[in-house]
């Protein structure tokens, strides 16, 4: 086992993040990394993202790695800035976020590395995917109506 490689990868993310900060001025924006295998989770993340943006007073959101279908579905939302980054950068950002929560401006829509427990385990008749995405991932107070 050797942690040096992981730390090197995480270290690279600092450069990528600085690039994002410099190019998009993250003072009034947040970044959402679409990174879930479940299309429905990815859809709901964007469906509720505007509510999240309003609740935090962000001017706009940078959406990383949304697939073509999502981009099309949310094309009319002018507060979304869609960006694609390659696998290497995606992994680096995730590794850095695993190392420590280096920013309060990043949402990753899965629990792989962002948390030690997978909140999707709590799905039940009572707790839906909508609840998990809105309350847990985006930190909203309630599930927005769609």
């Amino acid at each position: 086992m050797n942690s040096n490689k992981d730390l090197e990868i995480a270290d690279k993310a600092r450069k990528y993040w600085r690039e994002l900060e410099n190019k998009y001025d993250l003072n009034n924006k947040a970044v959402i990394l679409i990174d879930n295998d479940d299309d429905n989770v990815n859809y709901l993340t964007l469906a509720y993202a505007d509510e999240f943006r309003i609740s935090k007073n962000y001017e706009s959101l940078i959406i990383l790695n949304a697939n073509a279908k999502l981009k099309e579905e949310f094309a009319n939302n002018k507060s979304f800035i869609f960006l694609d980054i390659d696998k290497e950068k995606t992994l680096a950002i995730k590794k850095l976020y695993m190392l420590y929560k280096f920013t309060d401006r990043l949402i990753i829509n899965n629990y792989d590395g962002t948390s030690d427990t997978d909140a999707f385990n709590l799905l039940s008749d009572n707790i839906t995917v909508n609840d998990i995405v809105a309350i847990s991932i985006l930190g909203l107070n309630k599930v927005p109506a769609l």
């Binding site: 270290d11 280096f102 629990y111 590395g113 030690d116 385990n121 309350i135």
Partner: protein, 431 residues
């Protein structure tokens, strides 16, 4: 202060208490005459506060919550290893550096409970600080692997009694489902070991600083590739923690379903030893003994006056009243202090007949007892989306439904709790 910040401070303080980084023997100094320090004072109510230090000359000399504000030079010039200097500030790095000039060290006398917004940084200092923890975690991991090369490692970062009870209750089922045979459970103190021992689970005690680094390493390497898992419902996991109390998700559900992936009901009753010796040795009567439990790590203590009056009234009704104590805890005036080992606590209560206590982890352990239990919950939104009661109610968790009285108190003074006291006395006295 926002809830997230308060919870962060609270989580970290509780960890520090549980891992004995702060004890009641320490002299506590708060760095910063600010709201964070006031929050810490609220949580550490029963500890010994020495002073506040602040570099702002305008604040020096003032009294805040009864504590005098000093300059760091004035108070810290003579090194004292008994000091615990608590920091919850975005200027933590500069504060730490300043304290280090007096010989104080982080993790020993200096405890950083919150890093503030500067935590949100990708500068070299912050990155290297965390990277060094991962590297140390790797050393801990490799050292550990020498003795346990193929064990699955379960890491329990938080020493809450109730948390440990739920770990004990569900771990075996989790291992069965995941076909785990060899395992090691790492816990932050010996009390955790004792609780897991009730479930015939062996655990290894490790200081929290090491556990934290080990966890960071396993997280970075991946829990699958390190054959490890963290067993907690929300420790340093803000996203998961947000679901506490949401739509009635209680403490038990967070562990059973969230951490251990167990759907549906599952119960484990651990073996108990006979407690006759405790009754004989202490001249207590079976069926007429009330165990008071006024202490909990995370809950504001109800005033002694309340407990003294309650004990007096119960004794007047011919009950033997004892206080459950461990370590340096004191018995309630007019009662005898009694330490009941976990391996006998349920048997003891089955025979004693009565328990009155604040909602602590002990309540999880004893909830399968036949005793009448009166449990007190503080009012307020303490746990995520709901109150302490909604999150920890034994009845809501289905851990105990019969012989149970659950009371929510808003204030801690006796005068505000006379009705509650009467309810408890009536509850105990109705056969």
């Amino acid at each position: 202060m926002n809830l997230e910040l308060t919870e962060n401070i609270e989580d970290n303080l509780i960890s520090a208490i549980n891992s004995s980084d702060i004890t009641k023997e320490n002299d506590i100094i708060f760095f910063g005459a600010n709201k964070s320090s006031l929050t810490m004072m609220e949580i550490l109510k029963d500890y010994h506060f020495l002073a506040i230090i602040d570099n702002d000359k305008r604040k020096q000399g003032q009294l805040i919550s009864g504590l005098k504000v000093y300059s760091p030079d004035e108070l810290l010039a003579d090194y004292n290893p008994n000091y615990r200097i608590l920091i919850a500030s975005e200027y933590y790095a500069a504060m730490r550096k300043q304290l280090e000039t007096f010989g104080y060290k982080e993790g020993k006398e200096i405890l950083i409970l919150w890093h503030g917004n500067r935590y949100y940084s990708i500068d070299d200092e912050t990155f290297n600080y965390h990277a060094s923890k991962v590297r140390y975690g790797e050393e801990v991991y490799n050292e550990f692997r020498k003795d346990a090369p193929s064990d699955f490692i379960f890491i329990c970062p938080y020493a809450g009694t109730g948390d440990m009870y739920l770990v004990g209750m569900y771990l075996e089922e989790y291992m069965k489902t995941h076909e785990i045979t060899g395992y090691s459970v790492i816990v932050p103190n010996n009390n955790c070991k004792r609780i897991l021992g009730l479930f015939d689970l062996k655990a290894i005690s490790m200081e929290y600083a090491k556990i934290e680094c080990l966890m960071m390493f396993c997280r970075m390497r991946g829990f699958d590739s390190t054959h490890s898992k963290v067993l907690n419902d929300g420790f340093n996991q803000i996203m998961v923690k947000r679901l506490r109390g949401y739509k009635n998700i209680d403490f038990n559900t967070m562990f059973r379903q969230g951490v251990f992936e167990i759907k549906g009901d599952y119960n484990y009753i651990f073996k108990q030893e006979n407690a006759d010796d405790i009754f004989t040795d202490n001249s207590l009567r079976k069926g007429r003994t009330v165990l008071l439990s006024p202490y909990a790590n995370t809950i504001t203590k109800i005033s002694d006056d309340f407990w003294i009056k309650l004990a007096k009234e119960l004794k007047a009704l011919d009950y033997d009243v004892v206080t459950n104590v461990s370590g340096d805890e004191e018995s309630i005036e007019g009662t005898m202090g009694l330490f009941v080992p976990y391996k006998q606590i349920i048997s003891f209560l089955d025979d004693a007949g009565y328990f009155v206590g604040v909602r602590s982890g002990l309540c999880d352990i004893i909830c399968s007892s036949r005793a009448k239990m009166a449990v007190l919950y503080p009012f307020g939104n303490v746990f995520g989306a709901c109150s302490t009661y909604d999150y920890f109610s034994l009845e809501k968790m289905d851990l105990k439904t019969d012989n149970l009285l659950e009371i929510i108190y808003e204030k801690t003074d006796l005068s505000d709790n006379i009705d509650n006291l009467n309810k408890i006395v009536d509850f105990c006295n109705i056969i």
